[in-house]
C-alpha cells in the first residue's frame, strides 16, 4: 500500500496548501486524483514521491513509515517510486543525451553495468527510437522528452508510479501513447499508480477509480 495519512504540507507553514489529507493506493491499483490547478494536489504528489517533507501526517510505503525525504530517503524507498511531472523541460538536465537522462537513476545507485541493457529495453516500450537517444533535450519535442522522462521513471522498476499532469502539455496521440506505456508497465509488474491531473475524462478512462480533490479535503475538514 501507498498510504498518505492526514498529510499537511505546503511551502508556507502558516498557509499549507495540503491540509489533513488522507489517500491510499493499493498494490496494482490506479487512482486518479482530480483537481483544479493550484489546489495543492501537486504538492501532495511530491509528498507521495518522497520529494517534499510534509509538515504533519504519515506516509506509509508498503507498511513502512517514511522518515526521510529527498536525497536523504533510504535507497530502498526512493527506488520503489517512479515519478513523472508535467513539464519535461524543467525536470531534464539540458546537457544530457536522452540515453544518459534515462539512465540517471542507475548512475546514482551505482549499477552502471546494467545501464545499456536496461535503456535498450525501455526505449521501445515508451516509443523512443535509437536515433533519438543520442539527442539532447533541445533537439527533441516535448512529447519525445516526456517519453524519455517516463523511461527514466521506470528504469529501476518501481512498485509505485506517481504521474503529476504527465500529459497536460501533450497532444491526444502522444497522451494515449504515454498512458498505454504506463499501463503496459503496470500490467507486467503489478505496480500501483497515483495519477494527478485536471482532466476528468482522461483520468476516468485511465484509472480504476478517481477521487476529487474537493471531496478529499472537504470530508476531512467537515469533521
Amino acid at each position: 500500500m501507498l498510504e498518505l495519512q492526514a498529510i499537511t504540507a505546503g511551502y508556507d507553514r502558516k498557509a499549507p496548501v495540503v491540509r489533513d489529507v488522507t489517500l491510499s493506493v493499493a498494490p496494482g491499483e490506479s487512482v486518479g486524483l482530480l483537481g483544479p490547478s493550484g489546489c495543492g494536489k501537486s504538492t501532495l504528489a511530491r509528498v507521495a514521491a518522497l520529494l517534499h517533507r510534509p509538515d504533519a501526517g504519515t506516509l506509509l510505503l508498503d507498511g513502512d513509515p517514511v522518515r526521510r525525504w529527498r536525497h536523504r530517503a533510504p535507497c530502498a524507498q526512493r527506488t520503489a517510486i517512479g515519478v513523472v511531472f508535467q513539464q519535461p523541460r524543467l525536470s531534464a538536465d539540458p546537457r544530457l543525451r536522452l540515453t544518459d537522462l534515462i539512465a540517471e537513476p542507475l548512475r546514482a545507485t551505482g549499477r552502471r553495468d546494467e545501464v545499456r541493457e536496461r535503456v535498450a529495453e525501455l526505449a521501445p516500450s515508451v516509443g523512443l527510437t535509437p536515433d533519438l537517444l543520442d539527442r539532447r533535450p533541445h533537439e527533441v519535442s516535448d512529447g519525445q522528452l516526456q517519453r524519455a522522462c517516463l523511461a527514466r521513471a521506470l528504469l529501476l522498476r518501481p512498485r509505485w508510479l506517481i504521474c503529476d499532469e504527465m500529459t497536460a502539455m501533450l497532444d491526444a496521440s502522444t497522451t494515449a501513447a504515454l498512458v498505454a506505456a504506463v499501463e503496459e508497465y503496470r500490467s507486467a509488474t503489478g505496480a500501483g499508480l497515483l495519477a494527478v491531473g485536471h482532466d476528468q475524462v482522461l483520468l476516468g478512462r485511465w484509472c480504476d477509480r478517481t477521487v476529487s480533490w474537493e471531496k478529499l479535503t472537504s470530508t476531512e475538514a467537515g469533521e
Binding site: 483544479p36 512529447g143 491526444a172 496521440s173 498505454a180
Partner: protein, 319 residues
C-alpha cells in the same frame, strides 16, 4: 460569403540551421478566415502551427525565411517591414491572445494601468477620465471583473489572468484575433470559460478568430472550421461539425488524432512524426498510415481541403 479577413496563400517557412540543414517548418499553407468565423489550427507540438502564427505576426527568428503571402486587408504580412508590423499590425490588425497570460502581463503594474497604457497606444482616446473609462470598458468586454482592476498579475487566478490578456488583445479592435494555445494547462472548466469568451468575440464582435491549439476538445467547442497540420503541412481543412460528428475527418492522420482522445478510442497513432529537417519525398504520414500504398511515396496534390491519396469516406460525401 463575405471577403475573408485573413487570406493565407502558399505560406512556407524554412529555418536555416548553422549546420547548413534546412528545416521545413511550414509548407504551402492555404486558408482563409472570415469575419464572424473561427478557424482552429490543430496538430501536435512541433508540427509547425506555432511557426505559422509567428510568421503572421512578423515574429520569426532571424534564421527563418518565409515565402508565399498572408493578406490582411491590403497588408501583406510577410512583406511588411518591422515598422509597419509594430505600428499597424500587432494590436491594431491582429489582437494576440497569448499562450501564457501571466508571462504576457507586466508583473509590476496593475491590470488597470496596463489596460490604460494600451488604450492610449492603440486608440485615439485622450484625457484621464476618458482613458480610464475606455480601460474599464475593455475589461468588461473580456468579462474581467472591475473589482480586480487594481490588482497585480500575480494576484490573479489563471482564469482572470487569461481574461486580462484577452481584454488587452481586444482594445485595438483588431479584425483578426489570434489565440496561440489559449487553454494550455487550464482546467476543463476554465478551458470552457476561456473558449466561450473568445467565441463571444467572434459572434458579437464579428471578428475573425484563428485559434492555434493541440487541445481538440477546446477546438470542438469553439471552431467553425478545422485545419489539421502534420509535419508542416495543412493536411485537411473541413467543417467542424462534419469533422467532430459524421462523417468525421477524412484524412487518416486527423482520424487517428481524434480517435486517440480519451472520450473516443484512446488508441495512439503508432510511431512518431518525422523530423521537419528530414521529410520523406511523398506523404509524410505514410510510415504511420494504415491506408498507405505505393502511390503514397509521391506527394498527394491538395484537393477539396485535403492532402491525401486515399482519404476516408469520400463516397459518403459525394452522395
Amino acid at each position: 460569403m463575405t471577403a475573408p479577413v485573413l487570406s493565407v496563400r502558399g505560406l512556407s517557412v524554412r529555418f536555416l540551421m548553422p549546420s547548413g540543414r534546412r528545416i521545413a517548418a511550414v509548407t504551402d499553407a492555404h486558408f482563409d478566415v472570415a469575419a464572424g468565423e473561427c478557424l482552429a489550427l490543430v496538430g501536435e507540438s512541433g508540427c509547425g502551427k506555432s511557426v505559422l502564427a509567428s510568421a503572421l505576426l512578423g515574429l520569426l527568428p532571424a534564421n527563418a525565411q518565409a515565402a508565399g503571402g498572408a493578406y490582411l486587408g491590403d497588408v501583406d504580412l510577410l512583406a511588411a517591414d518591422e515598422r509597419t508590423l509594430a505600428r499597424t499590425v500587432r494590436g491594431r490588425l491582429i489582437g494576440l491572445i497569448p499562450q501564457s497570460p501571466a508571462a504576457h502581463l507586466t508583473p509590476v503594474r496593475t491590470v488597470r494601468s496596463q489596460l490604460e497604457e494600451t488604450v492610449v497606444a492603440l486608440t485615439g482616446t485622450r484625457g484621464r477620465a476618458a482613458v480610464r473609462q475606455a480601460a474599464e470598458a475593455a475589461a468588461e468586454r473580456a468579462a474581467f471583473p472591475a473589482g480586480h482592476l487594481d490588482h497585480h498579475p500575480h494576484e490573479l487566478s489563471g482564469g482572470l489572468a487569461q481574461r486580462a490578456a484577452t481584454a488587452l488583445a481586444l482594445i485595438g479592435n483588431a479584425p483578426l484575433l489570434l489565440a496561440d494555445e489559449p487553454t494550455t494547462g487550464l482546467d476543463r472548466d476554465l478551458v470552457h470559460h476561456t473558449v466561450d469568451e473568445l467565441r463571444r468575440q467572434v459572434d458579437v464582435g464579428r471578428r475573425a478568430l484563428l485559434v492555434i491549439t493541440h487541445d481538440l476538445a477546446a477546438a470542438e467547442r469553439i471552431a467553425d472550421r478545422m485545419a489539421v497540420m502534420y509535419a508542416g503541412r495543412i493536411v485537411e481543412i473541413s467543417d467542424a461539425t462534419a469533422f467532430f460528428g459524421l462523417p468525421g475527418p477524412r484524412h487518416p492522420y486527423s482520424r487517428g488524432l481524434l480517435g486517440a482522445l480519451p472520450e473516443r478510442d484512446f488508441i495512439p497513432i503508432p510511431g512518431m512524426p518525422p523530423e521537419l529537417g528530414d521529410l520523406p519525398d511523398g506523404c509524410a504520414f505514410a510510415p504511420r498510415c494504415e491506408r498507405a500504398t505505393p502511390t503514397c511515396t509521391t506527394l498527394p496534390a491538395a484537393a477539396a481541403g485535403l492532402v491525401c491519396h486515399h482519404p476516408h469516406v469520400t463516397e459518403d460525401l459525394r452522395a
